[in-house]
Every structure is written in structure tokens, then in C-alpha cells.
């Protein structure tokens, strides 16, 4: 019976995943082409930057470099070449570092995923917690105090919070390292390495997540106040449930639905916001890589980062769809 039931549920699940996947490929292809074309609008190219940096470039050496990097080709030819390389899973070579783009990104990806994923997770968990507390004590002084505090966080830029955290926790209290993603020159392993990573991660992660924490807490508060007014909550109370059970079983699950929807969209913003936080905390992630690549007109790296970001956003939104289907069974039927 239970197996039969699982089989019945598997149908709509597959439909959700297949639906997301069929959207994903054309979406990503469109993003790649648009990115490529938009970047052409920037004044100057990689060769200009190289020539400027070397300080002693001749017209001949510059045009030789253009031929060598393929930048002398017409735009349509460059795009076709890039797409054909992409089709072979080749992201090209960095004009700045002369290394394969895939290797450069692979070195940065884990730290970025850690930072962005950690920040999103922290924001969702803290937002749910704060939102639930505020909703169940709506109108009382705790709710008012938290609302005020969240409003403050909501309207403060993340980099400023980051700088203040460095001042307080690194400079004054000496609790956490102020920059980097690991202690340089040490060969830590096991628990010590994990602890070292966590100590480096905690401040940038918090700085990045605070804004979203405030957004989710406000969202959860509003949704939960609405949910708590519903008939089924009264019906559940009439069953004799404890207030905490009531929140845990009925209110949180219903309040999670809008949070998951919004969090899927926020991942893109978080990747963008990471640039600033990574700069403040010297965190070696993809955000700073992209920023440096932009200044150097290192288009292969920049396109690679943008491609990977779009894949991440599409994947997370597909995950959010699946999660929504699990949270709200009404979505799965038809």
C-alpha cells in the first residue's frame, strides 16, 4: 500500500524535475549569448589591457596578439567559436593568467558555494526562527523590538556591517580572523582544518546573510500571522495540541512556502552581493574573480563565471520547485 502510494507521488515529482530541465537548457543558452553580446559593449578588450599594463606595446605587437587570441575575428565568428568550444565543455583560456578557465573557476567554486550556501541557509533558519517568535508574540514588546532591529539591518548596507564586524570582532576582540578563507602557511587537517575554515567563514557569511535574514523574518512573520488566523489552526487547537506543536506542525510548514519561493530567486542576488562581501573580507570566491576579470577584460573567465552562476541559479530554482511540491501538495496535482 505504502509502496503504491510512493509510486503515485513519484509521477508528479518527475514532471516537476523534467519541466525545470526542459526550461533550463534554452534559458542557459540564451544567457550565454546575451552575456557575450553585452560584454562587447564595454570599451576596450583584453589586448588593450595587456598593452596598457606592459607599457611598451607597438601597433604590430598588438595586432599580432589580437590574431593570437582570435579577437581580430568578426563578432559572429567569435561567438560561434565560443559556443562550439562550450559544446565540447571547454570554457577557453584566461587572457590574463593563461590558464584554463575551468581550472581557475574550480579552484574558487568551493569557497563561493560555502559562503553563499551558508549565508542562504543561515538566513532561512534565522528568518524562520525570528519570524515565528515575532508572529506568535505579535504586538508584544519582543515583536516590536525585533521588528525595529530588523528594519535597521534591512536598511544597512552589507559591506558596512562587514567592516564594523571586522572592527569589533577582529580588531578589538580578536575573536575571528579578518580576512582570507584559511590560515596561510599552515597544514591543518581534520577537525583543526574545519575549525579554521569555520572561524574564517563566520563573519563574511553573517554579513552576507543579515539582509536576507531580515527579509525572511518579515516574510515569515506576515505569513504566519495570516496562517495562525486560519480555521485549521483553530481546529488543531481544538484537538488539544500544545502551542509549540501547533507552530511546528502546522504554522511553519505553511509559512515556509513563500520563503522557499523567494529564496530560490534570491540566490542570484546573493551571488552578486558576494562580490562586495568577498572584497571586504578578502574571501577568494567567484565574485572577486569576476570583478577582476571584468577590469582586465578577461572575457573567457567572466563568461565562465556568468555561465556557472546561471547554471547554479537555474539548478537552485529547480530544487526550490521540488521543495515547494513537497511542502505544498496542491502544486503537484495538475
Amino acid at each position: 500500500m505504502i509502496k503504491d502510494h510512493v509510486m503515485k507521488r513519484a509521477g508528479p515529482w518527475l514532471r516537476v524535475v523534467a519541466g525545470s530541465a526542459s526550461f533550463a537548457l534554452p534559458t542557459i543558452l540564451g544567457i550565454v549569448i546575451l552575456n557575450f553580446l553585452f560584454l562587447q559593449l564595454l570599451p576596450g578588450d583584453a589586448v588593450d589591457v595587456l598593452a596598457m599594463r606592459s607599457g611598451s606595446a607597438t601597433v604590430e605587437s598588438i595586432s599580432a596578439l589580437r590574431v593570437q587570441t582570435g579577437l581580430d575575428q568578426p563578432l559572429s565568428g567569435q561567438l560561434a567559436a565560443y559556443l562550439s568550444r562550450l559544446a565540447h565543455f571547454d570554457l577557453g583560456v584566461s587572457t590574463q593568467y593563461h590558464l584554463p578557465v575551468a581550472d581557475i573557476i574550480a579552484a574558487r567554486l568551493p569557497d563561493t558555494l560555502l559562503l553563499v550556501g551558508g549565508a542562504l541557509g543561515l538566513a532561512v533558519v534565522l528568518g524562520l526562527l525570528l519570524g515565528s517568535v515575532m508572529a506568535s508574540l505579535a504586538g508584544r514588546w519582543i515583536d516590536r523590538m525585533l521588528s525595529g532591529l530588523l528594519m535597521l539591518i534591512y536598511s544597512t548596507p552589507g559591506f558596512w556591517i562587514g567592516l564594523m564586524m571586522i572592527l569589533l570582532f577582529s580588531v578589538k576582540l580578536g575573536l575571528f580572523p579578518s580576512a582570507g578563507s584559511a590560515t596561510i602557511g599552515t597544514r591543518l587537517s581534520g577537525l583543526a582544518a574545519l575549525y579554521d575554515k569555520a572561524a574564517h567563514l563566520i563573519m563574511p557569511m553573517t554579513a552576507l546573510s543579515l539582509f536576507y535574514t531580515a527579509v525572511y523574518a518579515r516574510l515569515v512573520r506576515a505569513t504566519m500571522i495570516d496562517v495562525l488566523r486560519q480555521d485549521f489552526i483553530l481546529a488543531a487547537r481544538a484537538k488539544g495540541l500544545h502551542p509549540v506543536t501547533l507552530i511546528r506542525r502546522h504554522a511553519i510548514r505553511n509559512a515556509l512556502i513563500p520563503v522557499v519561493t523567494v529564496a530560490g530567486i534570491h540566490l542570484g542576488n546573493l551571488l552578486g552581493g558576494a562580490v562586495v562581501v568577498e572584497t571586504v573580507f578578502g574571501w577568494p570566491g567567484m565574485g572577486r574573480l569576476a570583478f577582476d576579470a571584468l577590469l582586465s577584460r578577461d572575457f573567457p573567465v567572466l563568461l565562465g563565471v556568468l555561465l556557472l552562476s546561471s547554471i547554479l541559479v537555474v539548478a537552485v530554482n529547480a530544487l526550490a520547485d521540488v521543495l515547494l511540491g513537497w511542502l505544498d501538495p496542491r502544486i503537484l496535482t495538475e
Partner: protein, 329 residues
Amino acid sequence: MTAASGELLVIRDLVVERPGVRLLDSVALSIGKGETLSLVGESGCGKSLSALAILGLLPEGVRHARGEILFEDEDLARASPRRLRQIRGKSIGLVMQDPMSSLDPVLQIGAQMEEAIRTHLPLSARQARGRALELLDLAGVPEPLRRYGQYPHQLSGGLRQRVSIATAISCTPRLLIADEPTTALDVTTQVQVLDLLDRLRRELSMALLLITHDLSIVARRADKVCVMYAGRVVERAGVDDFFAHPRHPYSKGLLHSSLGAGTPLHHRFDRLPEITGSIASAAGQSGCPFAPRCDQAEAACGKTLSWPGTTDSRDHFSACLHPNPEESA
């Protein structure tokens, strides 16, 4: 009417208010074991609020000001939140009006039933599941096994109300409160749900507090009837006595304005009489709340502040100044 006389629930002089507004005023009623009491009145007269007061589930900002709610000789108005949670769902079950909104849309039917069962009974998950399936069957839900794993939106309104009823009776309560259980259902389903409630009341020997505004339901299903108007009980009687000799002018007005009252016909050609005015006229009224709409009102009706009312030899209560108006005799 004392608790010792075997009454299951006795409410005396119940006053419920929001700051500045009295919502229930001196409500008194009693239900014997296994009895069906019907609470009637128009929207906003305090029927549902009375039910919520019994369960200690008054909305925020509304408080119990005075009076006793004796359930099996225990005053629920003074019970601790913990004690109230023990009683809710175990000794007193609640079925709400709209089965579309009274079930959590994101939880399976079975899970919602089991949480009621396992809150009160020391059963394992497996036993609770068995109990839930039994209850669905008892409540006339076809294919309990399949329904158990479904979500509320996959069920029809009538089925959902059966699920709500099955949940409310899961711990064999002594009192079931049904707050307009059929208002949101279509007519054919209404009869089935009322039959189900009646059958369960007899099989489980529980009392039923049936809140409705449909007098035809009262006539067919109730043992006793309690008419409310603007937060007060205006008439209380055995159901046969009530339909044969209504005493309060409001009750008479209600009976006159319904089809088939006094005549066996299912249709009539003349206009139905109505009670003139609206219930809003009772707001801020110092005397009898019905006085502004009453055709027998005298100067005294608008002045007197407390309404002891009169109870006749058949234990028939009426909150009217006219002790025994001639035409009801």
C-alpha cells in the same frame, strides 16, 4: 438545574467581553448526557462564541468576565491552559463550519487525525494508524486506506466534513460541538452528515451541541433548543414544547418567518412575514435587546437592566417581560 442532577455541561451566567463591548451576556444553558441541544440564532448573535468559550478558545482580545462553565462538575472557565488542552479533543470534540478551511492543506488526512489521537491516547504510531482507519470507516468514508494518504484538496466537501467529524470523535468525547456543520455543504450532503452525527451520538453515547440557524434541523434533530439574540439566551425549551408554544416574541417571529410553520404546506402564495429591523439595533441598548424590533414592546422593556426572565412549569424559559403572552397559550 444543578450539576448533581446528571447534567453533562452546565453554563451559568456566562459573560464574555471585548474591552467596552459585552459579547455574551448572562448566557445559561445545560446539556444532559447523550442529549442534543440546538443553539439557534442569526449570524453574530454569539452562538459560535459560546462554543469557543466552552473550549477556552476565545479569540485574542476577548475575555471571559464572569460565570461558570461546568463540564462534568469542573469549571472550565477557571481551568489551567494545560487542563484545557487535556479536555479539548479528548472529552470535547469540535466540528467546524467550513470543511474547506478546517483541514490543514499541506498535511495528509491520516497525519491530521493521528495528531489528535496521539495527543491524548498512549498509542504507538502503528496503533494510531489503525485507529484512524477505523474512525474513517465509522464516519462513512469509503476506501479509508486510500483517503488516509490523501491531502484535503483531493477530497470533496462532504468527505472532508466526514474526516473532520472522524477526527473530532477520535478519542470518544462525551460532548461533540458541531458549529453549523452543514452550512457549507450542498443539500443532499447535509442530510447525510446530520444522519452521521445522529448515529455517532447514539453509538458513542455522547452529547451533541448543534449550532445552526436552520429551524428545520432543530425540529428534526434536537432534544432541546436554546435561542440566542444579541449575545443573550432569550428562550430555552424542550424541542416539542418550543415548536408548539414559543414564548419569546423573537422566537415567534423566527417561526412565523419560516416555511411550513403552522401549516403542513411546502409552499405558500402570500409573502413570508419578516422580523422588521436588524440585529444591529441591539447595540448599546440598555434594556431588552429585542425591544426596538418587538411589536409588543412597552416603555418598560427599554429600561429594565437585568432580565431574570421566567420559567414555566415545563421548564420552558423566556427572557421576556410579558410572562405569558395570551396567543401562545
